[in-house]
Every structure is written in C-alpha cells, then in structure tokens.
Amino acid sequence: MGVFILRRIGVMILTALCLTFIVFFMTNLYPNLEKLAKTQGNFRMTEAEVQSYLDRNGYLQPIFSKYAQWLGVAPGWTKAVNDGVRGRCVHGTVSVDEINNAPKYCGILQGNWGFSTVFKNDVGPLVLARLGLTGKLMMWVLLLMIPLALMIGVLAGMREGSATDRSLSTISIVTTATPEYVSGVIFVAVFASSTVGLKWFKGTATAAMEDATFNNFFLPVLTIALYGMGYIARMTRASMTEVMTAQFIRTARLKGASFLRIVLKHALRNALIAPFTVIMLQFPWLLNGVVIVETLFNYKGFGWLLVQAAGNNDIELLLAVSVASVVVVLLTQLISDIGYVFLNPRIRIS
C-alpha cells in the first residue's frame, strides 16, 4: 500500500510539473508578454519600449531558465540597470546591498509564489484567501449534491422500470442537460429578478463572501450542485440496476431476505463502488462550474480569480492558480483510487 501511494504521488508530481510547464510556456509566448507589457505600461508603447520593459523585468530569458527560477531550483535573475539593480527576489529597483541580502533562490520551493501584476499583491496569500472562499462554496455544494444524487440514484435503480425510476431518471437527465450558465440564468430570472417578482433569493452572492446566508448563498450552491447531481445520480442508478440483476442478489432473495435487507445489506455497498470514483473524478468538472457560477453571481473566489488572472495574463498568479487546481484534481484522484480499494475487497491486498 505504501509503495502504491508513493508511486501515485510520484506520478502526481510529474503531472504537476508537466502541466505547470505547459502553462508557463503558453503564458510566456511573446504576444502574451507583449500584452502584459502594454497593460502594465501603456497601450501606446512602441516595440522598443516593450522590449526594454520585458528585459528590465527578466521576461526575455530562455524559457527553461525562467521555469527553473520559478520552481526555485535555479538562482533568481539579477540585472544591473541605470538606477540600481533589479532581480527576481526583490521588488522594483534596489541597491546592490539589498540584492546581496535578498535570498538567492526564490521559487515556489522556497514558498515564494511571486507577485500578481493585476492585484499588486503577493500571489500566495491571495490564492489562499480565494481558495478558502471557494472551499466554503464547494463544501455546501458537496453537502447538497452527494446525498441527493446517491439517494436519487439508489431509489431509481432499486426497481428498474418502475414509476419512481422513470420520474427520477427524467429529473437527473434534465439536470445533466442544463449547464450552470443556463440553470443559473433561469434561477436568477425566476427567483431573483423583478420581472417575475418572486424575489426569494438574492441574484448576487458578493455578500456571501463575508456572511453566507441561505438567502444569498442558496442559488449559487444549487446551480453547481444540480449539474453535477444528475450525472452522479445516473451513474449510481446504472450501477444499482446492474447490481440488482446480479446473481448474488438472487441468492439473497432466495435466502428469504426481505427487499429492504437486500437493498441495504447486499446491494448498496456493491452499487456505490462505481459512483464513488465518479464523484471524485467530477472535481475537474466542478471547477468549471465554480468558475461559471462565481462569475455569474459575482462571488470573488478561486474561479473568479482564475478568470481575472487568465484575462490579464497575470503570469505568476495564473501559474499559482493552475498549480492549485491541478493539485486539487490529482489529490481527488488519489483519494478515489485509495477509496476504491477500500470499498472493493476484491482489490485489497490479501
């Protein structure tokens, strides 16, 4: 087991390295850098001015050396300019003394995530704070989505073809066919706009960042949860119907076990193996929903941050955001693998 986890973590780190390098490469393509220079300076910069801006800020080094510095395995760049020295590990133009006192290495291995050009702030705390906000959102989403999805799936799959099955399956198909930007729009239109006039909930969730209430937080949570729910419910249903036709269920039935006992004791554990992995693999998709919903409801969390970073080519922020999301995705995959092993005794080591 230990070896297995170690190997998985190895693969995870390799994946994360590959992905961050791709992001690094894409964000450091020249047109992107040019755009960055122009947004930081002004839009009427000449080609030469752009070049000098980029040079002063170390953007024109070879890509691999820049990537190594960002990782913290190569010493940060320093550059003598007219009025002093600039470097990766210091802010702005400083004196030679200061640069000598500053650390040589300052990449993510040293805990230095860089500086956001959009928010004019250190990336580390910025991402952490936003992650916290999104964590709150996700917690409520999961709390709503998973029990609901599993319940619908199990109830529908218990008796295939029954009226309960048909109606619950229809509900889950409709929800999977409704992306967040459609359901969100409809929810806001129906429950929060003045035209319909119900005004039960708030159409924005900005206030929920400090103080989440049912009133201002329910719609965004529901919007994300619904889309994911349908998919998990359908998986659970499929798995449940398959298990219910398995021979060992017939064995249990012909033992004289009651229907309730068959479902609870024999079917459930077997039926939940497949959906468990699905729930975990849902995470990269849920992130999608988070970005849409946070934009739609103006909730300034991690998804909103991603949009800001990507829209303005805020390189270091974007890198941190991708590291964070990749780590989240890979961690859930790891958890899903381990959980699968524990749910399914056939794989467990004897």
Partner: protein
C-alpha cells in the same frame, strides 16, 4: 400597430417553423415505414424515450439548416433596428418596410436585434460545430486508444499519461490559455490543428490498407484516391493565408475557416479526445480477449486489421451512445466559451454568447437570455434522451 399577444406569438412561431415540421414528418414517416431494415436506427422507433430525444435533436438540426437557408428567420440577426432595444416579445417594428415582417417575435435584445432570428441562426452554429468537433475527437481517440489497449506496455503507459495530463487540466483554464487572440497570433492553435487533423487521414489510410493489402490491385488506386481527396481537404482546412500555417496557394484552397472558429474547434477536439481515448482503450482491453481476435491472430492478420476490423466494429454500441452524449457535452462547452466571450466574435448569434449578453440585464429583462437558454437545454436534453434510447435498444440484442 398593436403588440401581438402571447397566443399570436406562439402561433406565428409555429408558422415560421413550417419547413421544420414538414421535414420532421417526412423523416419520421419514411423511417417508420422502413424501420425493419434500418438496424439500430430503426430500433430507435420502438423506444419512446429515444424517439423523443431524436425528435428534439432533429428539430434543432432542421432549424439550423433551414435557418441557414434564411427560411425561418424574420430579420437579419445582426442588424440593429432603432427603437427596438430591449423591447418585449411581440413588439411591432417601427417603420417596417413592405415585405418585411412587422414584429419582433421574441422581442429585441440590448443592441435592438431580433432575439428570435438570433436563436434560429445560433442553432446553425451549434449543429455545425458540435457534431464535427466530436467526430474529430473520436478519430483522435480511436486512432490512439486502439493501439494503447491492444499493445499495452510502454505505449499504453505513455499515451495514458498524456491523456490523464489533459484531463487533469481544468477545462476553463485550458480555454483561457488557448482561445485568446494573442495565442492565435502565435500560431499554436494552427499547429495543433495541423497535428489533430492528421488523425482522420491516418485512420482512413490504415483502415483501407489493412483491409485490402492482400489485393494490391485494388488497394493502391483506392488509397491514392481516398487519401488524395482527404489530404487536399486537410490542407485547405489547416492552411489559412496570412496565418502561421500557410501551405496552400489560395487558388487551391477550397475553403477558409476563420481563425476564431478554428481555435474553438481545435480546443474542443483537444478537450474531448482524451476521454474518448480512455473509453476506446477500455473497450479494446475487453474485446481483445475474445476468441475471434485470437482466430485473427492465428491466421496471421496484422495488428491494425485486428484493431480496426475485428475490435472496433464490435465496440460500436457503447461508442455510438457516447458519441451522442459527447455532442451534448460539446454543445455545453461551446456555450461555456461563448459565455466567457472566448473565441467566437462578440456579435455572433451562438447561444452561449447570447446568454452571456442577456444575463447582464437579467434582473430587468428576461426575454433576451431565456430563449437561447431553453434552446440549448432542449438540444442537450434531446441528445441525452437519444443516447439513453440507443443504449436501451442496443442492450436488447
């Protein structure tokens, strides 16, 4: 002129869709008569769910096709008419000229364009891009998934790693990185297109060669003709004058695809292909243990013949079902792109963009955002139902 009431609006919309109704009735009655001879498609006519789904999908396909032929729309979807800004459904048009339809059936949007015509035009964009992109994703996924599952070993490890890499990437982030004007300027999407669009060629080439290599007289001319045509199409597709990939003189270039559409297309294929890869790989692992595969091996068939002619046809059931589901998913992705204003031009009538435009004034005006939202919902729902129906019917064999 008086505004139209709701009944009149519904009746008028129904009337506008007349060509669609005729086409649907024709399609259904012809298929129903010959359903015994139509295989899996014919069996669909035994499943209520599948039939509803198929009806919804074909409705939008016909709306798209006839809309593109300017049959259904009442106004130009891009032209702005003064005084029609955010007007509610059924508002009469001010200063309508003779021969022009006098009302905005579903009202006007924020830029005073006709919502109804925009939704109809949007159907064409979706029904064009989504199935094609899905088809390309399947070509890539199949061409890589078959050998990964069949040979296993290092190739499998490498390809699976790459697939998982792409899958671990948050889709939105990928789109933000790929679908920006700056990236288009670097030519990265064009290079990706050059690589991704080769796969159908490889697929067709290997498919025909493995089947006919025993008869060189048939094989060689067949391959030259098929691959020749495909290669020309391929070059026309990837090369665009003025972009980084400009391989074909414009006199030979069959058609041009605007960079914006191409990049959207490429990213959608890129995102979908790994999932298809995983499905195909899993199916291959299962089917390759069958005796007919062993029989093919013992008579010395080549690996590609076995993969493409012995394994792939027997994996078609789950693949067809996934194809339907994936078109739905691609439609949602396209909407997401539109929602974030990525790729497609801002005045584009596609549903995602329209929803994004409409949501800004949502608390006051519902009518610009709701119709495209409901259109998208019903199309994806139709695809899901169709997939469910197909799955049910294919299991009955």
């Amino acid at each position: 002129m008086e505004p139209m009431n709701w009944w009149a609006i519904i009746a008028q919309i129904f009337w506008q869709f007349i060509p669609v109704w005729i086409a649907l009735i024709l399609l259904f009655s012809v298929s129903f008569i010959y359903k015994k001879r139509l295989g899996l498609y014919g069996k669909l006519y035994d499943s209520a769910i599948g039939l509803i789904g198929f009806g919804l999908v074909m409705f939008w396909v016909f709306v798209g096709v006839f809309g593109a032929m300017d049959f259904i729309i009442t106004h130009d979807p891009l032209s702005q008419v003064s005084g029609m800004k955010n007007k509610p459904p059924g508002t009469p048009m001010r200063g309508a000229t003779a021969g022009e339809f006098g009302y905005y059936l579903l009202g006007g949007d924020n830029l005073a364009r006709d919502v109804f015509s925009r939704v109809v035009k949007g159907a064409w964009i979706v029904t064009q891009i989504a199935p094609l992109a899905t088809l390309f994703a399947f070509m890539v996924g199949i061409t890589l998934g078959l050998p990964a599952g069949y040979y296993g070993g290092r190739l499998d490890i490498l390809l699976s790693f790459i697939a998982n890499l792409i899958l671990a990437f948050p889709v939105i982030l990928l789109f933000y990185l790929l679908v920006t004007p700056e990236i288009v300027a670097t030519g990265v999407p064009s290079y990706m297109a050059t690589v991704l669009f080769v796969f159908p060629l490889i697929f067709a080439g290997v498919l025909l060669n493995s089947r006919f290599h025993t008869q060189p007289k048939v094989r060689t001319p067949l391959l030259i003709i098929v691959l020749g045509i495909m290669f020309w199409t391929y070059l026309s597709l990837v090369s665009e004058p003025g972009s980084k990939v400009d391989l074909l003189p414009s006199s030979l270039d069959l058609f041009d695809i605007p960079g914006g559409i191409l990049v959207v297309f490429v990213s959608v294929v890129f995102v979908n292909a790994p999932t298809v890869f995983r499905i195909v790989r899993g199916l291959t692992l299962d089917i390759k243990t069958r005796d007919y595969v062993a029989a093919a091996q013992t008579r010395g068939e080549g690996s590609w013949y076995i993969m493409l002619w012995e394994i792939l046809p027997n994996a078609r059931g789950p693949l067809i079902v996934d194809f339907c589901l994936r078109i739905g998913y691609t439609t949602i992705l396209l909407g997401t792109l539109g929602f974030f204003g990525l790729g497609l031009p801002p005045e584009s009538p596609d549903w995602g963009t329209t929803i994004n435009e409409g949501r800004k004034l949502l608390s006051i005006y519902l009518h610009p955002a709701l119709p495209p939202a409901i259109a998208l919902l019903s199309l994806v729902l139709g695809l899901n139902l169709l997939a469910d129906g197909l799955r049910e019917e294919s299991l009955k064999d």
